[in-house]
Amino acid sequence: QEDVMSGYVRLLRRQVEQAFRSSRMVAVCQYNSMPDEDVVTMRHYLRKHNIEVKFVLNEIVRPVLEQSKYRNLLPLFVCRNILLVSPETRALEMLRVLKGIPQVNLLGACIDDTILSRRGVENFAQLPSLEASQGQMVGALALLPSQTSSLLQRGPSLLTALLDEHIRRLRDTGAPGKPPQEQG
């Protein structure tokens, strides 16, 4: 009986360790009672953004956190809590879903090994994605070199256009008469 209980406790602890290890984002929320259908709906909408809802017991989580680098999250684990975990960091979508659920209150999160307060998560959510920022940087740097080619071609292009026009006029007048004076 004793062994079964402590075995179960060990299993639950391992699950919590695993959740922290394999997630880039772990958000801690206070859970206040909600009708069951609402819990299902919440799980559904968060799943769409690759976020899983985990109900956790403080007695299980606290010992795990105490001996890990996440120990600064310890004060959050009083009363009833849930963890929202994801291998991605879609904080904006998470906040949008939570906005419509007053019974779940975001307390803080650990995103990419950085502990954030609720405000920190909101600020993080407003940042453009790393890919978008990198794209903007590359775009800005590539702007000047992209103009070099067309700059170099301007001279010859102009010359070609003038010569084309010249040929057209010669053809129109029917005979190689005196071409009209060209400027430049």
């Binding site: 206070q30 206040n32 009708p35 600064n72 959050l76 009083v78 209150n105 307060s117």
Partner: protein
Amino acid sequence: EKMASKISVVLRPVKSIVVRFCPFEPNVESTRKFLQCIFHKKIQATNRNCEVTADVRHDGSEPLVDVMFVDGDRLIMKGANLTTVEMLTALGSRCNAKDLKEEQKSKK
């Protein structure tokens, strides 16, 4: 601990409740527990129009419960040195008193 969830509060005379706390601070447990109890379906059922909001901060401000009543009264409870039971009881008795007053007024 368990006592807190047994306390009944009738939210009829309450317009809104804002529960403010800094979760990373150590003195917020009773306030958070208050928030948890207020969302209990029995209490929620007494007034579906009562708006309960959690204001989660990280600025060292003290934990606080701010209750606005329909008749314009306001009750502010500073949770740092109060237990959940104390806060629920205080709110509950205010609500009962207002309900009683309302009943007497309508009887006249």
